[in-house]
């Protein structure tokens, strides 16, 4: 009984210390990304979503990356609609566990 209680206390601590939930970064390849002024709308749209923790936009890579809040999600369909509403075209999307800092540190082409 004491062992079970110990595990019940220990388990949440172990989970909290684990690496972030897989797939918490949505990496989207977007066409039409040439003008930072015009692309303010993309950032505005994604930041308005409750699931967005942070966003990184790279004109160099044609990339919009959104870091999701724990336990929350943006579906591919929703992302595609958001980008279309902002006037852009989604070419591809993938889910990774890359933090945005790692994406920012990538060498630019």
């Amino acid at each position: 009984m004491r062992a079970i209680r110990f595990l019940l206390v220990l388990l949440p601590l172990l989970l909290a210390a684990a690496p972030g939930t897989p797939g918490r970064t949505l990496e989207m390849r977007v066409d039409g990304m040439v003008c930072a002024y015009c692309m303010q709308g993309i950032e505005k749209k994604f930041r308005s979503l409750g699931a967005t923790d942070d966003i990184y936009i790279s004109l160099e890579n044609g990339l919009v990356a959104v870091r999701l809040k724990p336990g929350q999600d943006i579906s591919e369909r929703e992302a595609r609609t958001l980008l279309q509403d902002a006037g852009y075209s989604l070419r591809s999307v993938r889910r990774t566990d890359q933090p945005l800092a790692a994406l920012r540190a990538r060498p630019q082409p």
Binding site: V30, V34, A36, Y37, K44
Partner: protein, 222 residues
Amino acid sequence: MLLRVAVALAVLLPGLAAAKPIAFQDAVATSFEYRPWMQRVESYYTPDVHLSLGGGFLHLDAVSASGGGHHHGGSQPSRDIGYLRLNVLAERWNLPQAQGNWFLWGGLGAAHDAARSAMLVPNFGSQFDFETRRLYFSARTDWHYAFTFREGDHQVQFAVAPYLHSYDGLATWIVLDGHAMTGSVRHDPVAALLLRFFWHRVWLEGGADQNGEFVGTLMFTL
């Protein structure tokens, strides 16, 4: 000669100004444009990326019939035109590292000069642009029509980026601008060399035309 051809293309082709009439959704874009014979202020709200609503005010300086300079076509008092307008994104082409746009617009306005006032002055125009991260081309034509006058405003721009800007960085462009007016009063095409900067939601463009006079545009989006 090359400038005349370029501006003729702007008249014939759907045109594009330095700034697009549609910025991004749920935003208000306001611009101020200054040329030696023309000043314009416009503000548009974009409820959807495919259209924007708003209006502007256009001031045209008086023109004498004495000729000389770059003025032709008889005399005209200074004229002010206030107008409302609907802009439509007719087509957009999103490509990897490139984008093209075609805008159309139309609306109604009212004009006033020393001789008379004219209500219900229709306006219409078109704009085309194509850009990559290094090159930019635009052509625009804009008309205000009344029974007693018509004003056609035409602009073409070619621009080169000396460096490729990042999303958060300052963007810089070197712009060759050609501008002409047709209609009741014609202005020969005038070339200008401009520097364009934009950073986040502020756009600033300025330089001098071939007569050494200042030309500039300021735009910001909220």
